[in-house]
Amino acid sequence: MVDAQIAVRPIIGLEIHVQLLTRSKMFCGCPVRFDDPPNSLVCPVCMGLPGALPVINRRAVELTILTGLAFGGTIATHTKWDRKSYYYPDLPKNYQISQFDLPLVSNGHLDVDVGHGEHRVRIRRAHLEEDAGKNVHDVGGHTLVDLNRAGTPLLEIVTEPDLRSAEEACALCTGLHRLVTYLGVSEGNMKKGQMRFEPNVNVAIEHDGVEYRTPISEIKNLNSFRAARDAIDFEIDRQVAAWHEDHSYVLGSAPNENRGFDADRGVTEFQRDKEAAQDYRYFPDPDLVPVNVSDAMLNEIRQSLPELPDARTARWVKDHSLSVEDAATVVGHRATADLFDAVISAGGPPAIVIKQFVNVWLSHAKQRGVTIGDLGIDPERMAELAQIVADGTISKTAADRVAEIMLARNRFDAGTEDASDTVTPSVARTLPTTKANNAARCPSPLALAKELRLLQVRDTAATDVWIDEVFAANEQAVQDAMTNPKKRKAAAGFLRGQVMKKSQGKADPKLVGELIDKRLTGSA
């Protein structure tokens, strides 16, 4: 099997289905929800009853356009709806309303980076369609049909075969997931099947200067990033092995296949030949009028396009001198990033605000299983906490303590909110939730610092008392610092930390440092 002269190059494209976050279904008024009793979210339209007619959900069109703009796609000014015919019990009309030759979005791109620099992946098209219901098999020997999901708006995104590894494909999936949740166009909840992946995989094998290409496999319905990666990895190996086994396993000679992925066994399995694929008999749906996207509509949607993470990071680095790493911890979640901007606008010094976001607010939010916005602290208060650190009123250590008390005293601490779903409460919001809580503001950080006697002490005499106590308790360290210049710096740092601790964070670290240095060098 091992052959030194062969080089293998995977060729991977993706079809990604994204369930859009609309209140109602694509063509009727039924609500879009998960987990309701079977067939309770249905009406004549989504059940495909005789005489019922579809009506376009305008919101779904807007969300598709928004997504298209976010990945740099061209938005069609004129588009239409087509029927895709096939028989399946969960498809009530036995045709799916989709978009065939005039997708709403075409020619976009997304960049992936798996450590060898950015690689641009072209997006061929993105179109809107309706989801099918669900078949529930083997219920007392029967198959039951639940149509609650039938008619849910689905965005289908199709990439060019530009991906070169399972890792890159997975990066594209996660990148797209970040984008759609950031935009608020989907909850992107994988467990609920709100994002599903169908990779197209084949490999180019170079052997003795000749290139062979294996037939293309389409792996159906993958429900997680991990499944996508594992299925592609398996499929690449399988195809290479199949070619080794039989060199006629090449495009044109062997058929393209649909394959399913068994996640438990980690293998892909043959479903059917693509050659025998059904004829979907696409034709324009006569029940729906074509959609014309006006300039006004497009502009309106363009204006609602939020600043995307890359642009925002660049702005923060430029305007606020943040490091890219710090920015990255905040920028990926839209409500958090919006809140950060709001805190800066309220006068928070960026260098301190970002540290407090990363070290204080984010860790409290994580403990509660929510996002920073859900903590319910308004941006003005967050800005104030950063300001009083910046002007030396309290120390950083004291600020941590103040933050804790702020949260404890905030009646709207989101710990009471449903914390079971960490994504749902925040993605749909475009503004921090704290805006709504202004009426019940948490206490002023400055007032709290005063109340807790955490104001910084700049008094030399008081500071000297703390230093005396620390020096007395740490004779060895003092001795080291005075006798061994090489150890002086480390020992001085240790002693300063002890003094800060002794003062319960109230001492001015700068003053403490100066006084310690003076003693250590002065008496040498």
Partner: protein
Amino acid sequence: MSRRDTQFDTAQSVAGGERSAEEIVRECFERITTTDVDLHAMLSHDADRSIALARTVDAARASGQPLGPLAGVPLAIKDNMCTTFGATTCGSKMLERFESPYSAHVVERLEDAGAIIIGKTNLDEFAMGSSTEHGAFGATRNPWNTARVSGGSSGGSAAAVAAGLVPAALGSDTGGSVRQPAAFCGVVGLKPSYGRVSRYGLVAFGSSLDQIGPLTLDVRDAALMLGVIAGHDARDSTSVNQPVPDYVAELDQPLAGVRIGISDEYFGDGLDDDMRTTVMNAIELMRDEGAKIVSINLPHMKYSVACYYVIATAEASSNLARFDGVRYGYRTATPTGVVDMYESSRGEGFGEEVKRRIMLGTYALSSGYADAYYLKALAVRTLIKRDFDNAFEHVDVIASPTTPTAAFALGENAGDPLAMYLQDIYTISANLAGVCAISLPCGHSPTNLPLGLQLMGPAFGEERLLSVAHQYQRHTDHHRKAPPSASAA
């Protein structure tokens, strides 16, 4: 005694207190009992429900509440419009026991206007046919001669109105299915412009062609009924948001100066001589009343039957895909698996003509054939539409025969689908172009069968179309002649 009161007169007599709605509805059921045995115009009717509704109208009148324009008028509707009462069968074994959980838009409109829908009328299965012989529940016979067909596919509605079972009825027209039976039965049949009446709740045949329209004794009734059912409905994306004029008030516009177009394409081979003469006489009469006759050209008319049978069957093949035995409708007794359930349920549930059209349409949409058939037909349709646009720049209405011949004998065309399809040769192009058209009685054949004059107007030109038709009726009495079955009782 012959009683063929119009819808208008019936509504007036109820509103004026001359007759009670209950009395009218009871009479209507008496006539059904005596007459419909021979005709089989009705597939279902519900006397108890209808009488209860009539009493509600009478009580409302007695207490001085305002009454709708059709208060107390008994009506029948073609059994391809969904009603929450009774079954909605589409004349098919497939839906023999189907009960709709919702009502069609037109049903809501009629009932809001106070009308009492007494029952559902017979049709060719899923509205596919021109004789009302092709339903699963037997043929409807022509009230003028029960050996003849009533036309189709709205033959039940046409026969019911002609025989005086009800003053008016609704049909649906995909390629002539309101106008052709109206012509055969000697009543008025209007196909409104595409988008004028919501299709919500009309079981689709050819979605881009289907329109619901009234079958009535005279043009005034057609105007009255159209005013009730027309207008925008947000549930039908193809229904057009345009104001609905007062069609009845506009009926008195004079014929003088009206430009009537005639085209050779409607008077060529296959047209019966009596029919030609009668229609020409009708046109002469309108000229005498001051109308101007203008010769026009519709060069692509000759392709309309071919074009129609590709588009209508293609859409039908997709529209009828939902009848699969999974959730509702007929399911084969002992399916061996899901594929057999589909195949056997559809094989047993649909009749021959429906299966023929589903196969034609499936073929026309198949990969490799869609370009040659479906897409070509769409292109031809555009040309036909353009022909009409051009014509209506020069004329106000176009006049033609509604059908090539008078009603044919039952079974005469049963073995020859093509001959049956040619029945629609003069009516189909109005559906392809989306324009409005009406058929009205213009005389009788030597064997005393009614003959129909077709007038066509531009899209959303119902106002003028109806006024021209009404003016014609003011000068003629063909529409007042009752068939022997209605006067014999």
